[in-house]
């Protein structure tokens, strides 16, 4: 379609993401997709897109984009103080942008990953059913890489009519990115932890180490002692907390390895993966054990928040 935005500065690490390629797991390809799917979905709904449309995922800092055509954008997720032509604009809100307008960002106030949706959905290279960027395979999104200055962003199709700005997600329905409690369900190998390590898992404070990216986060903090024979490799899931022999836990994220043999002592529930997806090196976090039933309630209240956006647009 048409080039709607030009990349003046790409930001620290900005990639095209959608909801990933779950059907490729059997080939060992990470599922990928937005780290914070709630923010990704909300951004799309705010501009009248489908939830599966591609958005930009901006890590730690935002890009500088120049509008080539009139369009509607929405910025969700982390608060990097978005601005249009230097004037601060609201997060979680659909905004009209005119040709020549400049979208820039200020300081990082909360969260680690902001999402930018454009009405019509962003165009990206499709690979195995998804436009999500996979750096290892150098496929998907913007030619399998993060954005660089000079890139042109095009929309996948005409935006739906009439164009409406001002849709927003009320504050009370937004995730609280400053609360880093991740709710988790005890995992298949929880019994391999000794009593003290189990207490630490669901009680101690951990820090996201410098070894943290879209694949997963190594966590600094107390070491967790596991016992037992080596496990045969099995299929993994995002949110799984692996504990290698040395005892430093790893929280698996969107681009996680598809199989592994380390004990999985707990798994972060889907409603908490959004907050997990906002974490960056240095952030503190803790795990709190929940039941499947509680996880269901949390999931449903997030779905209801997104449904309210959909109703809003009718």
């Amino acid at each position: 379609m048409k080039a709607v935005l030009r990349v003046v500065e790409p930001g620290l690490f900005t990639t095209v993401q959608d909801l990933g390629r779950p059907n490729a797991i059997a080939a060992g390809v990470p599922p990928g997709g937005a780290m914070d799917r709630f923010a990704h979905r909300a951004a799309n709904l705010l501009v009248g897109n489908a939830e599966i449309d591609a958005t930009l995922e901006c890590t730690l800092s935002g890009p500088h984009l120049r509008a080539e055509h009139a369009c509607i954008v929405a910025i969700t997720g982390a608060d990097f103080e978005p601005r249009i032509n230097g004037t601060q604009v609201a997060n979680w809100t659909g905004i009209f942008v005119s040709p020549g307008d400049r979208l820039t960002f200020g300081a990082r106030r909360a969260g680690g990953r902001a999402y930018i949706a454009v009405a019509g959905g962003l165009e990206g290279d499709r690979w195995l059913g998804s436009a999500s960027t996979n750096l290892m395979a150098a496929r998907g999104g913007m030619h399998g890489r993060n954005l660089k200055a000079g890139d042109q962003l095009t929309t996948a199709r005409e935006a739906s009519r009439p164009a409406v700005s001002g849709h927003h997600l009320p504050e009370r329905l937004r995730p609280r990115y400053t609360d880093h409690t991740l709710f988790a369900i005890a995992g298949p190998h929880i019994k391999r932890l000794d009593a003290e390590s189990r207490r630490l898992l669901f009680g101690a404070t951990f820090n996201v180490s410098r070894e943290a990216d879209r694949m997963g986060y190594r966590l600094d903090g107390p070491r967790l002692a596991t016992s037992g024979d080596e496990l045969l490799s099995f299929g993994l899931a995002a949110g799984a907390i692996q504990v290698p022999r040395a005892g430093q836990p790893i929280l698996l994220m969107a681009d996680h390895q598809t199989a592994g043999g380390y004990p999985v002592v707990a798994t972060v529930v889907s409603a908490s993966l959004q907050v997990a997806g906002q974490l960056v090196p240095g952030d503190e976090l803790r795990f709190a054990e929940v039941t499947i039933e509680r996880a269901r309630q949390m999931r449903q209240s997030q779905a209801a928040a997104l449904d309210s956006l959909r109703d809003d647009l009718r």
């Binding site: 059997a26 060992g28 990470p30 195995l128 298949p188 045969l232 099995f234 299929g235 889907s270 996880a295």
Partner: protein, 209 residues
């Protein structure tokens, strides 16, 4: 069989804990049967397990767990023999001499033993195109390297424990590198993007090119 929660939208069904062709055959058949269900988004066979990603609006862990047990109790259909791949290997890997020394064999003999069996692809995973293959003959059984390499070249043929594998992409790795192959395992522009599938068979042969 034991069924564990893997968060609120996935289950891990363990059929056993042994590296065993019959268990793996059952896991692959169970994953195939589960994939046909509407409440199942994805089912991935491990060595002796199946990881099942489900739609939490259509199934509960209890209802799906019961269905998994029912399906696993059925006799699996006769597994067809997997596709057979013949893979040329130059047995000149950087660890070949050391491996031979540790096993009290000659490098030549390590190559002969490694290329003797027809291996089974137990699962594809970890990184794109990686296949866990085995069982490796006991004569070649070694623990992983104490210090993993930070970069293993693509195409490296490696062994560890009772397993063998080929690195599809340049990546870190702790297995012993005994050779290399020019065959490409990761085929990003094909769907599926890998040469091997779970259940396939692989025969290595010594080559000079």
């Amino acid at each position: 069989m034991r069924i564990h929660a893997l968060g609120d939208t996935a289950l891990l069904a363990e059929l056993g804990t042994r590296l065993d062709t019959a268990l793996n055959t059952r896991a692959i058949a169970l994953a195939a049967a589960l994939k046909k269900r509407r409440d199942v988004r994805q089912a991935i066979a491990g060595y002796a397990s199946v990881t099942v990603h489900f739609d939490p609006e259509q199934a509960t862990p209890d209802s799906l767990g019961a269905a998994i047990k029912r399906l696993a109790a059925k006799r699996p259909p006769m597994a067809e023999p997997g596709r057979l791949h013949r893979i040329p290997v130059i047995y000149r890997g950087p660890d070949l001499e050391e491996v031979a020394e540790k096993l009290k064999l000659t490098p030549q003999r390590v190559a002969e033993i490694h290329s003797r069996p027809i291996y089974r692809v137990f699962l594809v995973g970890f990184v794109p195109g990686w296949a866990y293959m085995g069982p490796l003959p006991e004569e070649l059984e070694l623990q992983r390297r104490h210090v993993p390499r930070t970069l293993v070249p693509a195409g490296s043929v490696a062994i560890a424990g009772r397993q063998t594998g080929i690195y599809p992409l340049p990546s870190p790795g702790g297995w012993h590198l005994i050779g290399s192959t020019s065959v490409k395992l990761f085929l990003p522009d094909r769907d599926p993007p890998c040469l091997f599938r779970a259940g396939d068979r692989v025969k290595f042969f010594a080559s000079t090119t």
